[in-house]
């Protein structure tokens, strides 16, 4: 068990972290390269950059869309805040970073971390329930949309029990191993699933805009390909 824990927090963690960082950089690089390539061939090279920037900020904080499905929106906001803050600003995690790399930054008070952790777990479950309850959401959902919130909740639930061993009914080492392994799995999933929106979201507005910048005479070429030359498409 000790050896397994050492492996999970040592080599396995390094591998997972490397995979996540390189994987996210890969997404960024490929997206930027694609945008660059499309723009180079585009007939209309004028881009409304100011509008794209405004839209990007608007969609990063979609306050005016909250009223749409208020409860789901609020659950989602809580989930995001908790999932982003706790792993980065938990005092115990910062202590580990400091020990390994001598980097450190201000930590959340433990009580705040505890509350946010509970919020993360509850809101993850709530998101899955609300997704499966609404017919419109069900139609749009893939397997990963149900699975990911629950998978992300595992390191939070196990982490809470690790932080509070007196309430942990299972052996401490088992819980600790589960916490580390499940967190590593989430790190690996980040670049492979829709969690990669953590770096790609700021680019979505740009990508959508670029997509409408066709090469010169693209329309007539499509017409030729469809055998409807000269006809309105």
């Amino acid at each position: 068990m000790e050896a397994l824990i050492e492996w999970a927090r040592g080599p396995f963690f390094w591998a997972a972290l490397t995979f996540m960082v390189l994987g996210l950089l890969r997404h960024l690089a490929i997206t930027l390269w694609d945008i660059f390539r499309v723009l180079r061939r585009a007939g209309d090279k004028n881009m409304p950059y100011k509008q794209i920037a405004t839209n990007t900020v608007k969609w990063l904080f979609p306050i005016d869309k909250v009223g749409n499905r208020f409860v789901l929106s609020m659950t989602s906001v809580c989930f995001h805040i908790a999932v982003i803050l706790v792993p980065i600003f938990l005092a115990g995690h910062i202590a580990l970073w400091k020990r390994g790399t001598s980097l450190s930054w201000p930590a959340l008070p433990n009580l705040a971390s505890d509350i946010l952790t509970i919020i993360a777990v509850i809101s993850a479950v709530a998101i899955v329930i609300q997704r499966s309850m609404a017919k419109a959401s069900r139609g749009l959902s893939r397997f990963q949309d149900y699975a990911l919130p629950l998978i992300i909740a595992i390191p939070f639930a196990t982490g809470f029990l690790v932080m509070h061993p007196q309430w942990n009914p299972f052996p401490f080492n088992v819980m600790f191993l589960l916490h580390v392994v499940s967190a590593n799995v989430v790190l690996i999933l980040v670049p492979l699933t829709k969690i990669s929106h953590c770096v790609l979201l700021p680019l979505t507005q740009l990508v959508s805009e670029v997509a409408w910048h066709f090469p010169e005479n693209a329309g007539s070429k499509v017409g030729v390909a469809l055998g409807k030359e000269g006809e309105p498409i």
Partner: protein, 649 residues
């Protein structure tokens, strides 16, 4: 879509990913932390495979250039470009491989400035550098013919390069002849370290002839492989011509190698039953004898299977020959062995994989082969909008970077998971465990004169106790058992400091349920501090999960050593009162190294005593020689055989 080429490229990209991560480790933490190379084996796989075999594998370039341009055999012209490209990439691979092996890789250009006329390596370095430049110029026309360079300036350069082809080819042949042979000459300076079955005063000739044969076979193998992967027809008629030439050259190689051994009278050694003679025959048969015989048979050298088998054997065997000379048959001191770490294989394979990828890149985009390439692999351009999922409808220009970059990252992550810890975090100090003290009978002569220390020593010979001496047990302090010991009169110190009451003066902290614990029980390493806190036993002893709060206050932010309950709160009985050294800290995490502990305790006490009562204690008590006596070490080393004998009886 998953053609042979896609599968090949996928595998190569994974290897390149692994290579990239090993490269980061190699250049951040150095050779010692990442390889099995040592001062005893400074030349390992990287020199044996990347440099020695790499140069030989690239010999096809000058051999084919000579065939076509010097001997005028025009029909072999289709092989020249791929051979030159292989040689060019091969020599770049050699240079890159060398960068990994050099301790100070940024000094690789030094031979250009600091000419060491007597060094064979200087000649090799200059030749390889010059030949790499020649190869670049020889290959440049292939690049400049591309439409991307269809501009007046490039057209003029292309015309000049085509005009100087012949001088370049001549220069290439001269340079290759020089350094292919002098790679063998390197071993002339170590005639007694190279096994007699491999050493030869004409080893340079063997290296050169074998390189020519290998070059021909390498071009053959490469044509077969590119025919397989790019799905174009292989011209077996032309290849059989190369095969016949290789058969002759390999035959000459065998004749020189065996003939030279027979003339010098060392051939007998090849018939002794030993690993080395088996290796010798295996290597010779695989690299030359069998291929030479098989290729002499027209039916075999005209079939793809026959050519593939022979060229594969020669390539494998000749690589083995270079590695044997460089590593296996090269003598090392007794007790030192070498087998490459997996990181060394990763670097060697990674360089080859990268070279193959560049080769494929050039073949796909430039006119290296005369056959048209498979159009399905040539990318078309198009945008995509789902960056996470690779869709099959998306054109190759979009999917290929996605696929290969993902595989690269998978390779890199795998590599970091399997790298040794020291390669990720850097080398840790060596652990030097400390053993318990031993007790031996000795003598003490009390000096009556004030200011002089007592004399203590071993009883070297039973019955030969010096006059006026008293027999007493002495403690041998020799923590790392290197024989450089200090004799310690424990009884005398105890008597002087006040009998049993005085234990606490030195034994300042006890193990649980122990009294006067020995120094080595906590100070477990000779030089480095060691962890003395056993978390696991505390978890067991304090009732598992419920016990955590006994040491870790639930309200504290972090469960760490710094915030845990002080050890003295539970283990007050372990702390002795009134020791010479300062009280232990609240939390006992690590104990200083054994040597530091000994010096800290003994010296401190000696200094205190000498200062407190200047008249009573000798001044020399503070000196090194008060405890360290070189004679004791000498006598003890002479006593060890006697002690061993008495133990065995």
């Amino acid at each position: 879509m998953t053609s042979r080429l896609t599968i090949l490229k996928s595998i190569l990209w994974i290897i390149v990913g692994i290579w990239a991560m090993v490269t980061v480790a190699r250049f951040t933490h150095g050779l010692g932390a990442t390889t099995n190379l040592s001062d005893v084996t400074p030349w390992g796989l990287w020199i044996g495979f990347d440099v020695m075999a790499g140069v030989a594998l690239a010999a096809g370039g000058f051999v084919l250039a000579a065939t076509v341009y010097i001997f005028g055999l025009e029909r072999y012209r289709p092989f020249v470009r791929p051979a030159i490209l292989t040689a060019f990439l091969g020599y770049i691979a050699v240079a890159v491989g060398l960068l990994y092996d050099l301790g100070l890789p940024w000094n690789i250009w030094h031979p250009m400035i600091n000419w060491q006329h007597h060094s064979v390596l200087f000649e090799v370095a200059m030749c390889v550098m010059l030949y790499l430049s020649v190869l670049a110029l020889e290959f440049a026309p292939t690049i400049l013919e591309n439409s991307l360079f269809d501009r007046p300036l490039f057209r003029r350069i292309l015309a000049v390069l085509k005009k100087v082809t012949l001088p370049l080819v001549v220069a290439g042949i001269i340079l290759s002849t020089l350094h292919q042979s002098s790679l063998g000459s390197l071993f002339l300076i170590a005639p007694h370290r190279l096994h007699p079955l491999w050493y030869s005063p004409i080893i340079y000739l063997l290296f050169f002839v074998s390189a020519v044969g290998l070059g021909l076979m390498m071009v053959t193998l490469e044509s077969l492989l590119s025919g397989y992967f790019f799905k174009h027809k292989v011209n077996t008629k032309l290849l059989s011509g190369l095969g016949l030439a290789a058969s002759v050259v390999l035959g000459i190689y065998v004749a020189i190698r065996v003939g030279d051994m027979a003339i010098r009278g060392v051939l007998g050694g090849a018939f002794e039953a030993s690993w080395m003679s088996t290796l010798f025959w295996f290597e010779l048969c695989v690299c030359a004898v069998i291929p030479a015989i098989l290729l002499a048979i027209p039916r075999i050298r005209r079939s793809i299977a026959g050519l593939g088998l022979c060229s594969g054997m020669t390539v494998f065997g000749m690589v083995m020959y270079r590695i044997d000379v460089c590593i296996v048959a090269f003598a090392r001191p007794e007790g030192f062995s070498y087998f490459p770490h997996w990181t060394e294989f990763a670097v060697s394979l990674g360089i080859v994989a990268a070279a193959v990828l560049v080769f494929i890149f050039f073949v796909e985009r430039l006119k290296v082969y005369e056959h048209p390439m498979d159009q399905a692999e040539i990318p078309t351009i198009g945008p995509s909008f789902d960056p996470v999922t690779v869709r099959s409808l998306v054109p190759a220009a979009v999917t290929a970077p996605r696929r290969y970059s993902l595989l690269f990252i998978v390779g890199a992550s795998l590599a970091i998971a399997f790298l040794p810890q020291q390669a990720v975090l850097g080398t840790k100090p060596h652990y030097t465990p400390v053993a318990a003290t031993r007790t031996i009978d000795g003598f003490v002569i009390e000096n009556e004169k004030v200011g002089e220390p007592n004399t203590i020593g071993f009883i070297e010979d039973v019955g030969a106790i010096p006059a006026g001496a008293m027999v007493t047990p002495l403690i041998i302090i020799d923590g790392n058992r290197d024989g450089r010991l200090t004799l310690f009169n424990h009884q005398g110190h105890e008597d002087r400091l006040g009998g049993e009451e005085s234990c606490a003066s030195c034994h300042h902290l006890n193990m649980p349920m122990d009294r006067a614990s020995s120094c080595h029980e906590c100070h477990r390493d000779m030089y480095e501090p060691t962890l003395i806190f056993n978390h696991e036993s505390h978890v067991r002893g304090t009732d598992g999960n419920q016990g955590c709060v006994k040491c870790h206050d639930p309200s504290s932010a972090v469960k760490s050593y710094e915030t845990a309950t002080a050890c003295r709160e539970c283990h007050a009985e372990s702390i002795m009162s009134g020791p010479v050294i300062a009280d232990p800290e609240d939390r006992w995490n690590s104990a200083v190294g054994y040597m530091a502990a000994m010096h800290g305790l003994c010296r401190q006490c000696h200094i205190n005593k000498a200062e407190m009562t200047p008249g009573e204690f000798p001044v020399s008590l503070q000196d090194c020689r008060a405890c360290h006596n070189a004679n004791h070490t000498v006598i003890f080393s002479e006593m060890i055989p006697r002690v061993k004998n008495s133990e065995s009886q």
